[in-house]
């Protein structure tokens, strides 16, 4: 299991497009992807659950990947989040 701490940078937070893109990207990895936010655990492969978590700019989250290809998955997640989802 690997995990990493992030602060959401893009002004809009995890709105629909980042959530959809993030979940789609994560779904390509066989490991489980969990976002820990505000004391809750959210399935990182579900755009709806990510959006429902209401993760705004400045929010602190942990991305936890566990299973086959967990390092690749976390690297991909880090790339997207730190890049501000390209926004």
């Amino acid at each position: 299991m690997v995990q990493q701490h992030f602060i959401i940078k893009n002004a809009q937070g995890f709105h629909m497009r980042p959530a959809t893109n993030f979940a789609t990207a994560m779904a390509a990895h066989p490991c489980s992807v969990t976002i820990r936010f505000n004391g809750k655990e959210v399935n990182g492969k579900s755009p709806m659950l990510i959006m429902a978590a209401c993760i705004k700019v400045g929010s602190e989250i942990d991305v936890v990947c566990d299973g086959v290809g967990e390092n690749e998955a976390l690297a991909a997640a880090a790339g997207m989040i730190e890049n501000g989802f390209g926004e």
């Binding site: 995890f14 709105h15 629909m16 705004k56």
Partner: protein, 645 residues
């Protein structure tokens, strides 16, 4: 932020069948436009399309949520659409969209994210999305969302009604002497102001029907402070240790927000009621004049029922005798047995008039110990005992004025005496209210009234003689005019009450002039609402739609001699309404006197007209006065531009 705050039923389209995604978007944008959510529909549509160009907003499960943050949005809002046959929206799971929500968000703020998150939390529930897709009407659609939202976020629902039931920040008590109009107008104004300011407020009304919506001890303990908007004494001992802002009832009507802010900003002084005796008088921020008025009104309001019931009984007695055609001599009104019974019973009620008046004035000043001194003082004023003539065989009563004096002087003397008694040993504390205060009080008031009676009876006689003189020199009309005008100038305020109290006082004198005074007084109080009502009927262009609608009510108010009905109009346009009403009332009062109309009942309006001497001429005077008032209004008040302002 609740979904149901953003989505209106006009923004929901059930059973749509757009041919493609573009048409679906078109229809959802049109719904936003219908609801008035957009400043610029074209710009907003461009925003939506630009977003779709970056990737579909379909999220699978037959749901699509097109959205745009745009300057073209007036306020955050939602529209929704169900498409039973589905529309291709390029969904990642390849399913057509059957449930569509379109978010319109303003560029600033987090509303967009919050709405999105909230919608996702709701739409994760497959059961709900199925039901939404199958909803038959926009109302059902909204109800489903509302129910789900309430279930998922119960704390919001609980939070909303809570301030209304408990946890009032500001409490208020409203009261006026008559307890018919001002009390409730002030309560309503305060409630509305509280709503506007977003401050939960509870208002207790001490009206003629008793105390309504009573403040509980718990509420008092938990509130920020209490507003007292009252022109008579209210029970204040319960507010001990709380910030209390005390003022006149008119302030409750005219500047409710200011009063609420006084409490909220902590400007109200903390109220101390450590001694019950000082409960009603120690409300700090009141002028001496206001206190006087409040004490007086406490007496008058308690006296009124005696005057009204007794007076009408006596009027019935006269009516019966008049119907029997008995001679109008000194026994008139008690000749036929039935009339005699009514007259006697009414007379008994009348006998309490002065004791009650003085008693409650003194009680307002000195709390419970004041009752005895006031009641006895009032009684002595009525029977006219003196040192030389303690059994009042010769009767030199100081009457109404003496009773007023008795109430005030006895009240203050007793209060002073209570202060002196503070130095007495604690051991006899318990004796004070049961023995010392009553004994000393009775002694004080007895001595005082025996001294005052001879003096006051001279003044009273002078007043009656003055009236007689006015009458003999054909100047009684002037008195009628003055009384009529006084009744209508402040509509329930001090001038009105002064004239009214004078009228009922003259009634007790049981002379023709006295009855004529009462006739002028009552007609003066009936004119203002009637003049306004007539104006709203015949000069429609002077009034707003709402004012015209309420005009009809004023007919009833006027005919029932409830002058207060004119207050909303007088408050709105004082410089136009008050002079008009005063002139109309003066004309009516003068005419009533001129026609020698005698009124033996102190209240009752149109219902006691049959008991009036020369009832038809009285009605004529009323009509003329009201028409004059109406015409004055038409002259003074220009037509308003928009009848529906």
């Amino acid at each position: 932020m609740r979904i149901t705050d953003l989505l209106k039923k006009e923004g929901i389209r059930i059973g749509a069948s757009p041919a493609d995604k573009a048409e679906a978007i078109e229809q959802l944008v049109a719904l936003h436009e219908t609801c008035g959510n957009l400043l610029d529909a074209a710009a907003y549509r461009e925003g939506i399309l630009a977003r779709e160009a970056m990737g579909t907003t379909a999220i699978g499960m037959e749901i699509a949520i097109p959205h745009a943050k745009s300057e073209a949005v007036k306020a955050p809002a939602l529209t929704a659409m169900t498409v039973p046959s589905g529309v291709d929206y390029g969904s990642p799971d390849g399913m057509p969209a059957k449930l569509l929500f379109m978010i319109a968000a303003t560029p600033d703020g987090d509303v967009h994210m919050e709405v999105l998150a909230r919608m996702m939390q709701l739409l994760m529930d497959m059961d709900l999305t199925e039901k939404l897709k199958n909803a038959k009407t926009p109302e059902e659609f909204l109800a489903l969302i509302d129910a789900k939202e309430t279930e998922k976020f119960p704390e919001e629902v609980k939070a909303a009604p809570t301030p209304r039931n408990e946890g009032y920040r500001v409490l208020a008590v409203t009261a006026c002497p008559t307890g018919i109009a001002h009390t409730y107008m002030a309560a309503e104004a305060l409630a509305k102001a509280g709503e506007r300011l977003g401050i939960p407020i509870k208002i207790e009304t001490n009206g003629s029907g008793g105390v309504k919506n009573k403040l509980t001890d718990e509420e008092i303990a938990n509130c920020d402070g209490i507003i007292i908007a009252a022109d008579k004494s209210v029970d204040t001992a319960r507010f001990d240790g709380k910030p209390v802002w005390s003022t006149k009832v008119a302030d409750g009507i005219h500047k409710p927000e200011e009063l609420i802010n006084k409490i909220v900003n902590g400007e109200a002084p903390v109220f101390k009621a450590d001694k019950k005796a000082e409960a009603s008088a120690e409300v700090g921020n009141e002028s001496f004049g206001r206190k006087l008025y409040k004490h007086l009104m406490n007496g008058v309001s308690h006296m009124l029922p005696f005057v009204v019931a007794g007076g009408i009984f006596i009027a019935i007695a006269f009516l019966i005798d008049a119907a029997k055609g008995v001679p109008m001599d000194g026994n008139f009104g008690s000749v036929t047995p039935v009339a005699a019974w009514f007259k006697a019973m009414g007379g008994y009620a009348f006998n309490f008039m002065l004791p009650i008046l003085a008693g409650f004035i003194a009680m307002s000043i000195a709390d419970r110990p004041g009752l005895l001194v006031g009641v006895v003082g009032g009684f002595l004023a009525a029977n006219g005992a003196t040192f030389a003539d303690p059994f009042a065989a010769a009767t030199t009563p100081s009457g109404f004025l003496g009773a007023l004096l008795a109430g005030f002087l006895a009240g203050w003397l007793l209060k002073l005496f209570e202060k002196l008694c503070e130095k007495l040993p604690r051991a006899i504390e318990g004796l004070k209210p049961v023995l010392i205060y009553p004994l000393a009080g009775l002694g004080m008031v007895a001595v005082m009234m025996c001294a005052v009676n001879p003096v006051m009876s001279i003044i009273n006689k002078g007043l009656s003689d003055g009236l007689l003189w006015l009458n003999q020199h054909n100047l009684g009309v002037l008195l009628g005019c003055i009384l009529g005008a006084m009744m209508s100038i402040d509509m329930g305020g001090p001038l009105n009450k002064a004239a009214y109290v004078f009228g009922t006082g003259m009634l007790a004198a049981a002379t023709t002039e006295g009855y004529m005074v009462m006739g002028s007084v009552m007609i003066g109080g009936m004119v203002p609402p009637l003049a306004i009502a007539l104006s709203t009927i015949f000069f429609k262009n002077r009034w707003t739609a709402e004012e015209r609608k309420n005009g009809v009510v004023n007919i009833v108010m006027g005919l029932s001699f409830i002058t207060e009905g004119a207050i909303p109009y007088a408050a709105a346009y004082p410089l136009k309404v008050i002079p008009s009403c005063a002139i109309g009332a003066a004309v009516a009062g003068g005419l009533s006197w001129l026609f020698n109309c005698t009124l033996m009942a102190p209240h009752g309006g149109i219902f006691v007209v049959p008991t009036i001497g020369k009832p038809l001429l009285y009605l004529l005077a009323l009509v003329i006065g009201s028409v004059v008032g109406m015409l004055m209004l038409a002259i003074l008040k220009r037509p308003i531009k928009d009848g529906n302002k």
